[in-house]
């Protein structure tokens, strides 16, 4: 069982290492992830929201849905733990 798990892990790792060949170099400012959407946020976030911390501006305003459902997820986790663990006291 353990040998099987080790073999599966090593195969997955080799596939992922093979995949890193196509990645852009680490820390490259011209990589595709850095060119597409984020220059807009860096250039315009302060002017549009007056918040110097760009991460807070994107978290609270541009991607508000993400944060809203994150709160809902935490809320559901609290509900789930209470309903799994608490016993009926009657």
């Amino acid at each position: 069982m353990k040998a099987l798990a080790l073999i599966a892990t090593v195969i997955t790792g080799i596939l992922l290492l093979y995949g890193t060949r196509d990645f852009p170099a680490w820390g490259d400012p011209q990589s595709p992830a850095n060119r597409h959407l984020s220059p807009y946020y860096i250039e315009n976030a302060v002017a549009e929201t007056h918040v110097p911390n760009v991460v807070t501006a994107v978290l609270g305003d541009y991607r508000g849905y993400d944060t809203m459902f994150e709160t809902v997820v935490i809320f559901c986790a609290g509900m789930a733990v209470a309903s799994v663990l608490r016993r009926n006291k009657s």
């Binding site: 400012p29 992830a33 110097p52 935490i74």
Partner: protein, 129 residues
């Protein structure tokens, strides 16, 4: 030889992330204790979050907290600041990871209350009895 060295310098971070992910993956499928499985899942999550954050790094870039009046007056060059978008997405992922940990620990306590053990093979034995 020189090209290979350049390749190693450009990619060694990614290789270490893959090694971390392999450790977490092995703990998830190879270990029998449920708490060990959960620790492995947390390691897996941090490896993936590390990979996502590292896609936003720019060499020589500053942190994404800007000087408000200077930016309003003269604008800013986007290549000087690291990419804030992966940070936002991964902030949400960390929050979800702690919720998942809490729910999993609650379910684990319920299993312990029911079967008296947290080892996977013993639980399977009790179920089949």
């Amino acid at each position: 030889m020189d090209g290979m060295l350049q390749e190693v310098v450009a990619k060694y971070n990614y290789w270490i992330y893959v090694v971390l992910m392999m450790i977490g993956f092995y703990a998830m499928i190879g270990k029998r204790n449920l708490v060990k499985k959960l620790l492995g899942m947390n390691i897996f999550q941090t490896a993936i979050i590390l990979f996502f954050v590292s896609t936003g790094v720019k060499r020589g870039g500053g942190i994404p907290i800007l000087d408000k009046y200077k930016v309003l007056a003269e604008g800013i060059d986007p290549t000087q600041i690291v990419n804030p978008l992966p940070h936002v997405l991964m902030l949400t992922a960390i929050v979800v990871s702690v919720s998942v940990t809490g729910v999993a620990l609650a379910v684990m306590q319920r299993i312990h209350r029911e079967y008296g053990t947290l080892e996977e093979d013993e639980i399977l034995e009790r179920i089949s009895e």
